[in-house]
Amino acid sequence: MVYTAAAKHMEDEIHREFDELVRRHYRQAYNLAYRLTGNAADAEDLVQDAFLRAYRFFDRYDRSMPFMNWFSRILTNLYIDEYRRRGRLKTISLDEPLQTEEGEDGPATLDLPDPSPSPLEMAMDQEYIDAIHEGLQHLAPDFRTAVVLADIQGHSYEEIAEIMGTSIGTVRSRIHRGRKQLRDYLLKRHPELFERGDLK
């Protein structure tokens, strides 16, 4: 009886701690997942799976490091491994023309939830936002993950190397190649984005 009460109490404490972490980091995790998967439904699935996996291995979490660094590793690994295995990721060459399933030219429409942009973000047109988002989806998963972790999540190269389980040199290479591919994609469609003085 004593053993159960103590174990139950400890388990309740862990449940409370983890639930609080879910509430605190859910939005950031969803944002990361959305930029990785490219759509709301997959992002939600990915976040749920990642949190469930994080809970299963919560005893391995080193509380001296930020939760989001540890969780990002789980989420990105889950994304790269599992989602690529399921064939849900389609990496399209930047050279081939964009075509929808009906064969019409032009980018496929993505279901974008209401982004509720801040006043600062209002400066960027939705058209450009969509273009950048689509450009990210055309990157290879490893490149996209590195770019998103660096530029959206704001991680350092060292943190990204730890999250992705690679060397800093690999991270540097992935970010560089990812940015160059994204730049080429955007230059083709919206060269005005690179005109001097814009978007500063």
Partner: protein, 207 residues
Amino acid sequence: MNCRYVQAHLSAYVDMELTGAEQQRIRAHLECCMECSAEYETLLRVKHLVRRLPTIHPPHGAEAILQRLVEYRIRQAPRRYRLWQTRWWRYAWGVVAAALVFWWTSGNETNPTSPIQSDALIPTLTSPYPKRSFSFPIFNNKRSEPTPLTSPQFSPVQSPLIMPVSSSPFEPNPMLVPVVENRGTTDTLQPTFDQTSPTSPTRRYRR
């Protein structure tokens, strides 16, 4: 430092992930190389564009995740405690069953191997209740005439709800003391023997 080296390190330069000396050298190169400078500008712009992507708010709250967590915990919990719980309840039922058997046998004093052997050590009881009904009717079929004891000792129990603890090994537990009948007087209780069975006499107190 050539253009190839600089262009390979431009993203790291943009992210300020190079050492101080490398940052200085690349900056110096960019000031004098138009091609590398143009490349740097586009990569810096890409970083700004991605960074300025609006934050996407999830369509649903964290409740869906928390709900899945609750379901997962429920699925996992029984497996963890099943063994322990089963064993505990098995022991509990055993303990309860043993206690019931013990209470049944001790309350009727039909056991011939009762530890109460000496009349002198048997305490008498003054109970406010008409009868300590530890005995079941099936065992109270016949009674004999009272036989006075030689030297009864008195250790009255104030309340039947309080079970006194024996301080001496010779002083029996009052719960094990034979049935007492109170017929309305406060006279001394006399222990008697039920002589219905010669082989196993049941001791009784009668007035």
